[in-house]
Amino acid sequence: MTFIAPSLIGVGIFVLLPFLDVARRSFMDSFGRRFTGLENYAKVWENDAFRLAAGNTVKFAVVCIPALVISALLLAAAVQGLPRGRDGFKTCFLLPLAVPAASVVLIWKILFHENGLIGNILLDLGWAPVDFMGSNAAFWILVVSYLWKNLGYDMILWMAGLSGISRDLYEAASLDGAGPVKRFFYITLPNLAGITFTICVLSLLNSFKVFREAYLVAGEHPHTSMYMLQHLFNNWFTDMDMEKLCAGAVLMAAVIFGLILLLQKAWGEEE
């Protein structure tokens, strides 16, 4: 406790206290002068933009997180099993994490703009160019970007988990006649339950960071398919709709917190 006191105090002052103030403001008017009860929550809940943004955010999480977790696990297992060159592969997969968001955006534009590289390839093939960022394809580009950026990170975490599983268990299973698939399902996966919780939570939190690229490419009002909660909150801030912003933030925090508790119950307690 003593050891973590400075961090705890810092987090308390810069994160928890402000959040408590946000929660307080969610029951007040924009300037925090007049108590409004649950009016702000009702406004937010009935707001079409919030529903769309929340829906997109949930959809993004539901699509991306399982995809990321599973593909990172398979990749980790594959890389772990390599006799040589493991470090080289780790570095290659971690590189996307080091690329700044602005550079990623530049590449996006070069590739996916209506007059970009892919558009020109389509044109050469006799098809009409596609405005990826102005169509439903924008959502899938966001998914691909998220997977590309975070695959290496999750893979490293999985590899840390994999290295913690005793070799004896695999040897014993091999002697008993278990093949690689059975060893994976009956030894690897159960032993990774604890770290699964951590990886899922981190992946969930990282999924919100994809807003950076989305904002830099498509601005404050992107195509509806990639309109996230952060876009909405950002615009509410510009218009000084603080009461809605606070109510929305509290709702979002409550949902994420609930989700983390569920995950902890599912995997965290089995540790």
């Binding site: 003593t2 050891f3 006191a5 400075p6 105090i9 810092g10 002052i13 810069f14 008017d29 924009s30 300037f31 707001n47 079409d48 933009a49 769309l52 102005g134 404050e220 009002h221 509806t224 309109y227 909405l232 950002n234 615009n235 509410w236 801030f237 510009t238 218009d239 000084m240 709709d241 603080m242």
Partner: protein
Amino acid sequence: MKRVKRGTALLLGICMIFITACGAGGERGETDRAMGRYVENRLEFPLEDNTPSTMLQRSDGTLDVLYTKYTEDSSDPVTGFTRYHSADGKKWDEETLKWTLPPESFLSRVAYDRQDKAYVMALRYGEGDLDAWLFRENGEGVLERMDIDLKDETGSPMNIAMLGTMQIGENGNIFIEQRGRGVSEYGTNGNFIRFYSSGEMGDSSGFVLSGDKIYVLDTVGSGVLCYSTEDGRLVQNIAFDGFSDYSIIGGGSGGTVYISGRTGIYRLNAGGSMWEKLVDGSLTSLAMPSIYFSDFIEGPDGSFYLMGGDGGNTAQLYQYVYDPDIATLPEKELVVYTLRENAALRVAAGEFLRDHPDTRVNIQTAMDGDSAATAADMIRTLNTELLSGKGPDVLLLDGMPVDSYVEKGVLTDLSHLIKEIAKSEKLNETVLNTYKNKDGIFAVPSRFRMPALFTEENLAGDLTGLEALAALAESHPDKPLIGDKSPGNLMNILFASCAPAWISDGQIDEDGLREFLETVKKIADTPAKSYGTENEGKTGQFSVGSGVRGVSVGKQNNNEDLLHWAFGRALAYSRELRGYGSLSASVLALRHVENSTVIHMPGQAENVYIPCGILGVNAKSEMKDSAEDFVKLLLSEPMQTAEDGEGFPVSMAAQKALVDSVDEDVYIGMGGSGTETENESLEGGMPEPKEKEIFMKLCNSVKTPYTADETLAEMIMNEAKGYFTGEKDLEKTVADITEATKLYLSE
């Protein structure tokens, strides 16, 4: 060991708490109370409505002001010269000079030698060239011609058009500046001695002699080059970082050098390399962008004199005197916030300080050109300040979410202020009430713009709306309605005059939108040729203007379209009118086309105007009274009469003054650069009062404000593109626009 760890952790925690508690402290509105500063006095020159030709200083430090007398004879207007002399800038003694110049020449430069004898440079426009003569005043006060071989540093004849200032050295040598190059020195018999360069990339804009040194101002190199006049050697290169759009260098006693500009007056002591700021420009008229200064002089009592004018026929003598009993900085500070630079605020700040010497106006420009931040970023930063109760006192709300601020109670009610102003000044009530609601008036536009259409009178009468515009275009298959009738340009032109009819209360009326798109397509699809070859057959540029939350109508300086109309290739021409100062080109075209007129842009809304210069006072301001005084100043006639290119004034008296003002002797012209227009041009004098009256009638008949924002306009235009290229039909386009904007409007 445990105790040490615990103690260390506790100490770190306490430190973090204290760090978060640190802040700027203090109350805004009060500043430090150091005493003493230079105070500005405005003195009158001896003649009103007449700008002196130059201001000089005699060897005893007293002032001379020279006036040139003119006649109506434009071929040889100069008839004589009068000199006024004063010791303090207040009492003047008149003297008629015996100077005569060669026929058809005019006074260019005057300088005194140590015996206060004048040296005069006269110029004359010859055949395709300028002739120059130098004269020296003899003992009887008569000018005698001097032979002088005006050369540049290469030995070639000097470019007379680039002649700058002239001064006479202690030994009688003559120093003449070549603007942009440097200074040439000539002996007493007019022989060329040497050249003092303002540097390889330099741009000299003045020099001063001090003892055996010459200081040349180099604005490009950002400094002053000091040469020895004995051998021409560069002695010192003194850096200076206070340059502004103009800078004047002057000399003082004891070898001091002064530079004055918008940022203030600086002094360099003899032999020194550090500049001392004596006068803060922001606390005086020096910072006012509407005033241009010249002829810096250090008075015998240590005060400074500058001649300042607005470019017209009036000039004033600005005197700066040190007062040890006044606070160095005014006690209070009024913070005025604007997203983008606004000249009217700077002018008002100077005037405000004169009437409120204890209050300094701090103008915060969020986007100053160097910043990479967007307007939205700046607004979010501002919102943070407003929410914490520390925002600016006065806000220029152009480009900001005005409706949101009004709704959230950020702004204070200004109804009482408007009532007070209305007692002494007549204001355009329609524009003033743009943001009026049941609770009051929380935002007040100080200016407005108007989308307008120029066409022939017999056509204008029938143009009652958008359909009539389309009917006109269809009935003339040989000429386009506007020169560039591409859909993009048409959308830009017509958006402001149509959108108010179908965008309101956060909703888009689909029927109105449908009619708008259909009509634009009708006009764009008429058989007549569209000018501007890059747009032929294409949709054109769908662009939205930046700045004010509103659509910039068409291309800002679309003089090509103006020439197409003026020379009969188009039925009409459109322009967003931004004040009486921006009417010159339009009036030239009106004169050229017989029986022509200008009307409000026909559209689905009637007589549309675009409010700008929108002022608001922060409801939580601690300087509310001063803030309201500042707003009142901006709405007053003197401020409204100043032309800043932002829009027409809301003050009726200012409108009348601007309409009645006459700019004689100013000749304007414009020409084309396109394929059809490159040999075409229009020329003439400035608009006359009668010609400006028609614009005043338009100003007085505005009805519908256009207050939709750029984001919405851009969304609509982006979705509409496909309709004009034929990719989608009208219903799909309307559905797509409704879908695309639904999200934005529902936020």
